[in-house]
């Protein structure tokens, strides 16, 4: 009898408590889905519109029909762009610039981040903050002085930098190196101190500690930084617009704008197609590296 009473007393309290918890969670879930949907619509509508427009002929684009529907789908925009030497030149210029910039960035920022996060030397903390502050200076402030500098350098040495695609190899790292260094400092800082101490006692040099312990362990961070550097160099618009003008030196974002807009004539079909094709490489890279990006490799290194 007594035990029944206890159960009767205990059960409702537990139920109410549990119920309120799950109700809170259900509401949180609903709200997060609501905002996710709003966000998804907001970010997916422009690419969808680009896709729709890229499948239309110029005549259909300028006709007063429903802009959200393709009545006579055609691949003519794609064929024209992919067979035009100009577009392929932009594409290759972009690819070259991005790949080289990513390489330069990683070669500089990974050792820099390692040094700043692990080798305690005089002024390292100030330097680390300084690196981040450089990133905060907007490129719109810098392009004029940079232009003057590059022009002066060309006059002085005879090596032309203005209107050459390779000038971007010098300019882009000013954007990517500080940020990637900062990301990598964060990742390296999350690696337990004992791990490099163990490596040092095992006989590893600083360089071996970096290459055989830190880089493999911080791979997710390294990939995040790589993706960032690639995206920045691939999508950068202002610097290539300022520093390059000849069609054979242009990269994709600027090339599309300058060659497909002729005066006040906008070749919308090809602009949309070019933009869509230009957006593809970063998307593919994201898709491939996402698993690495999310996976936490530090699990099991230490307790917990």
């Amino acid at each position: 009898m007594a035990s029944t009473v206890v159960i009767d007393k205990g059960a409702p309290t537990r139920k109410v408590k549990y119920g309120s918890m799950s109700r809170d969670r259900a509401w949180a879930l609903r709200w997060s889905y609501f905002f996710l949907i709003v966000f998804a619509i907001f970010s997916l509508v422009p690419p969808l519109y680009m896709l729709i427009t890229s499948l239309k002929s110029s005549a259909e684009i300028s006709a007063a029909t429903n802009p959200w529907w393709v009545f006579h789908p055609t691949l003519s925009n794609y064929i024209e762009l992919l067979t035009s030497n100009q577009f392929l030149t932009f594409f290759w210029n972009s690819a070259w610039v991005s790949i080289v910039v990513v390489t330069i960035t990683m070669l500089i920022s990974v050792p820099a981040a390692f040094a700043l996060s692990r080798m305690r030397f005089w002024g390292s903390a100030t330097l680390a903050t300084g690196v981040f502050l450089t990133y905060l200076i907007p490129d719109t402030l810098l392009f004029l002085p940079l232009f003057k500098m590059f022009a002066a350098f060309g006059d002085w040495t005879g090596i032309p930098l203005i209107n050459r695609w390779y000038v971007l190899l010098i300019v882009y790292p000013t954007l990517t190196v500080p940020f990637c260094t900062w990301i990598m400092i964060g990742y390296f800082a999350s690696i337990p101190k004992e791990l490099d101490e163990a490596a040092i006692i095992d006989g590893a040099s600083w360089f071996q500690t970096l290459t055989r312990i830190f880089i493999p362990v911080a791979m997710p961070g390294l990939i995040a930084a790589t993706i960032f550097a690639f995206t920045v160099s691939w999508a950068q618009f202002l610097y290539p617009l300022v520093f390059t003008t000849s069609t054979d030196q242009l990269v994709l974002p600027v090339g599309i704008i300058t060659t497909l807009i002729k005066g006040d004539v906008f070749n919308w079909g090809q602009i949309m197609t070019g933009a869509l094709l230009g957006a593809a490489p970063p998307l593919i890279i994201y898709a491939f590296l996402m698993d690495y990006y999310i996976a936490g490799l530090t699990a099991g290194a230490t307790k917990g």
């Binding site: 337990p192 004992e194 791990l195 101490e197 163990a198 490596a199 040092i200 006692i201 095992d202 006989g203 590893a204 040099s205 071996q208 055989r212 312990i213 493999p216 362990v217 791979m219 490799l297 530090t298 699990a299 099991g300 290194a301 230490t302 307790k303």
Partner: protein
């Protein structure tokens, strides 16, 4: 294998002296445990031996060579860390062989060494796993394996068992002792756990405030502590300290605890404490096992008294009793059948043959 010597070793961080001049001689094959509360400088001392911290002053010698400016990798030491510090992207075998691979040992030798260490530590079936697939105890075994395969001059352990649960800790403690019996490598082991120190060490170094309080075998520290700190740190439950004075009553030396309670000292003790000024403020140090239930026939040097128990803690093979004596809480150990009950009176006996007398001001054991 080598001996390790510390000569007046000092570590300063800006204004703070973490280690204040340590002299320590560790013999070849010896297992020495540095023990003390957190912040006593024991870990810093170990890290200075490892070369992970620079020393501010003094000398550290390994195998007779001064290693003050020798980088860790050239000191031929191996270290086991509290949080294991395994390389997460390597398998167990790769973790253990990392140091040997860096030194470009032949593959066959690496394999035989790893196999031997894995057998010794009973982790043969784990060698292809990654650290995240291992339990805490297994990870600590791998960390030890990584130290063993290097066959270094000195093993350094930095609180290796602190992250394990109590049961596993006892098991790993025995494991560490077995490994040391097999490989006989000179070992310096840091812990804050006095039980670990007592059970593992050939000699224990008790540290406090960056200084060595006492060096001795576990038994020496337990039975002949030099200071109040050592007396209270070693042993669980801790030694009781009861304020007292010496007094001459009827030609015999007595220790007076309260107005009502005095105990005559046994002859050996009386002779030893004869020269202590009677006015000095003293502490009577008694281990719990020397306060027991009174038997009908008291041995020489054992004195009976009555107490009202505050709390009793039955432990199975014994019962811990707590009572108040002149404002100090006192712990004793009685037989489970002695009839000790919370709040009840009990006739107790104190064994003064094993007493300690301390100067209350200086903390020195007289």
């Amino acid at each position: 294998m080598a001996d390790v010597t510390l000569r007046k070793v000092i570590k300063r961080y800006d204004e703070v002296e973490a280690v204040r001049g340590i002299d320590l001689d560790i013999a070849d094959h010896e297992f020495v445990v540095l023990v003390g509360p957190s912040g006593c400088g024991k870990s810093t001392t170990l890290r200075m031996i490892a070369g992970l911290e620079d020393i501010s002053d003094g000398d550290i010698m390994i195998g007779g060579d001064v290693v003050n400016d020798v980088p860790p990798k050239d000191r031929d030491i191996a270290m086991v860390f509290q949080n294991y510090a395994l390389y997460p992207h390597m398998t167990v075998a790769e973790n253990m062989s990392f140091g040997l691979r860096l030194k470009r040992y032949p593959k066959a030798e690496i394999k035989s060494r790893v196999d031997e260490a894995a057998r010794m530590l009973d982790i043969v079936e784990l060698v292809d796993r990654k650290p995240k697939q291992l339990s805490g105890g297994q990870r600590q075994r791998v960390a030890m394996g990584r130290a063993i395969v290097r066959n270094p001059k000195v093993f350094l352990f930095d609180e290796p068992l602190s992250n394990l649960d109590a049961k596993l800790r006892v098991q790993m403690r025995i494991e560490i002792k077995k490994v040391h019996q097999k490989v006989r490598t000179t070992t310096v082991y840091v812990t804050h756990d006095q039980v670990e120190a007592m059970t593992l060490a050939d000699r224990v170094v008790v540290m406090n405030h960056g200084r060595i309080e006492q060096i001795g075998t576990p038994n020496e520290l337990y039975h002949k502590p030099a200071t109040k700190f050592v007396a209270s740190f070693i042993g669980s439950p801790a030694m009781n300290f009861i304020p007292c004075r010496l007094e001459d009553l009827a030609g015999k030396l007595h220790v007076r605890l309260t107005d009502r309670t005095t105990f005559p000292l046994p002859p050996a003790r009386a002779a030893r404490y004869q020269g202590v000024p009677r006015s000095d403020k003293l502490l009577l140090g008694l281990r719990p096992e020397h306060i027991t239930e009174a038997r009908p026939h008291l041995a020489p040097g054992v004195e009976a008294f009555d107490a009202v128990l505050d709390v009793t803690e039955p432990m199975g093979m014994e019962t811990l009793i707590y009572f108040t004596l002149e404002g100090s809480q006192v712990c004793g150990r009685v037989n489970p059948n002695a009839g000790a009950q919370d709040g009840a009176p009990l006739r107790l006996a104190v064994d003064l043959n094993n007493m300690h007398l301390l100067n209350e001001v200086t903390g020195v054991v007289l």
